[in-house]
Amino acid sequence: MLRKLVDYANISRVSAILTHRPALDRFTVTGLLAIAGLAAVYLLALRVDAAWPVFWVAGVAFGAISQRSRFCFVAGFRDLFLMRQGRMMRGIIAGLAVGSIGFAMIMATVVPNPGSGVIPADAHILPLGIATVLGGLLFGFGMVLSGGCVSGSLYRMGEGYLGSWVAIGGVLLGLYALNRTWNWWWDNQISTDRISWLPTDLTYTGTILVTLALFGLAFYAVSWWERRGFRGTVVTIPVVSAAPAAQPPGTTLSGLARRVFRDEWTPLVGGIALAAVNIVLFIRYRPLGVVGELSRWTSDLSATLGAGVGELQGISDIPGCVPRFVEGSWFSDAFMLNVGIVAGAFTAALLAREFRPRVPRGPRRYVQSLAGGLVMGYGAGLGLGCTLGAFFSAIPSLALNGWIYAAALAVGAAAVTAFNRRFACAVARRWRSWTCGAGRPPSRCTPRTRRSSAPRVAPGRASSPTWTWSPPTCCRRRRSAGSGAASSRRRTGRGRCASRPQGRSPMRGREADDRE
């Protein structure tokens, strides 16, 4: 049994900080002011253009839903490889499934006969070729490096992450670099790339059936992958938020309001809600996508600064996330979407009392954010979209390019594992846990002097004859703290480890040594 009760003695000082919070504190007040601001912009937008308020609402909804559910495409891909946590990926898959059904219904009204060769104009059915694959690889690589994809960084900007502002700066630079090379890509690759829209060959019914089957398979595969590497006892997460104790009486919200505005939504809810936003926006105009507008910003900005990239060929021929220039204006419907994402996340974070300026630690994180953003920006421009435009809107568009881009994203995200040593060691640890420490460790985990100041604690290694190689600290196999004390936490023996007859790996022996 895990302890599920809040340790009241331990949080007493926490409540000491919180108890004097008045019912209408600064977060609630600024949150309500932010809502008023959102409404004001909506009313202003109504007077300008019919599309603007729709994009504004979609952006605000996207930002708020992402903030509440902590929806993160990066986490979806990365945690799958890094920690075998498939929670976020399942949310993404659920969102894609809902989006696919909705998009198919919309597209079926626009193009009733998909076999005729006509394709819905606004759907994200994009040229498929090397650019798609390379764009996905670069994007997957960059997003894991910077810690957020483009849409993710946008909403985190609203939550107060300084690193995300830096990352978006990097994205703008990357898009500028892409725009400078765009005409080459267009002439040599993209102009000759063909589009592949699945309903052309499979009809709507066939495509939907195949797509949903693939989602089901992916959903199951994620769960399988998650369980397979985990040899502990699966327990329900005994996370106790300090809700009843640390919340002063005046601020306790009613059940529903609390669940909406304070508690975290599950990624499943988030993914489905985001898909709903996507469907609504597509019904009115076009699917979600943020990169095209960022690309327009760089183009307009560089032109203003006298370093313009000139005419970008062919962008009026392709749908999706390419810059859409508006004559003589800095603002457009897509501008409302992007800014709406930041504003929606800001408001939601305020209401959740989660907003605070978050300054990265040390220069290394800034470099990571900027470099990741740069790579990601170039990839997003090349792949004609980010995780939103070329993945979350493209797969529901029933286009093959969405699937190819997704595969490239996954490979790119996994490639960071080879780039970043810490990731590499986490993977190595996983690898060793699959093989139960029986074999040699992967070559990249051979001993190496760590620059870290962390002491290398390895008691008992010498007394473990079957474990003669000397792993660096980050590569050491993870421990199981409950080996002796709690029988409820005994390893259940999933995977290959179950077949070890004595049930005692070299590491278990070392653990025993540690305890003495």
Partner: protein, 85 residues
């Protein structure tokens, strides 16, 4: 094994995913192997749903309390041999 009276604190404020989780894992695995209790300070909300599963894979329990708006304290505690678990 005697539990120290001071609960070690790992401050990962300012770090974003996946570093709060990786640093917690490193703390549990390498820096303080077998530590009976650890307090992690974070201001990154996604870490609240990534650190507990990782700690639990290592046989720890977790509880989260809010220190102040946008800042949380994750208490990670191992199975207490004295039976209070």
């Amino acid at each position: 094994m005697t539990a120290s009276s001071e609960v070690p604190v790992l401050d990962v404020r300012g770090e974003i995913c996946p570093y709060p989780m990786l640093r917690t894992n490193r703390e549990l695995d390498d820096v303080r192997p077998g530590v009976p209790e650890l307090t992690v300070l974070t201001d990154h909300p996604p870490a609240l749903s990534t650190i507990p599963p990782e700690a639990m894979k290592r046989g720890y329990g977790c509880e989260i309390s809010e220190r102040r708006p946008g800042e949380w304290e994750i208490r990670i505690f191992s199975a207490a041999p004295d039976g209070s678990g």
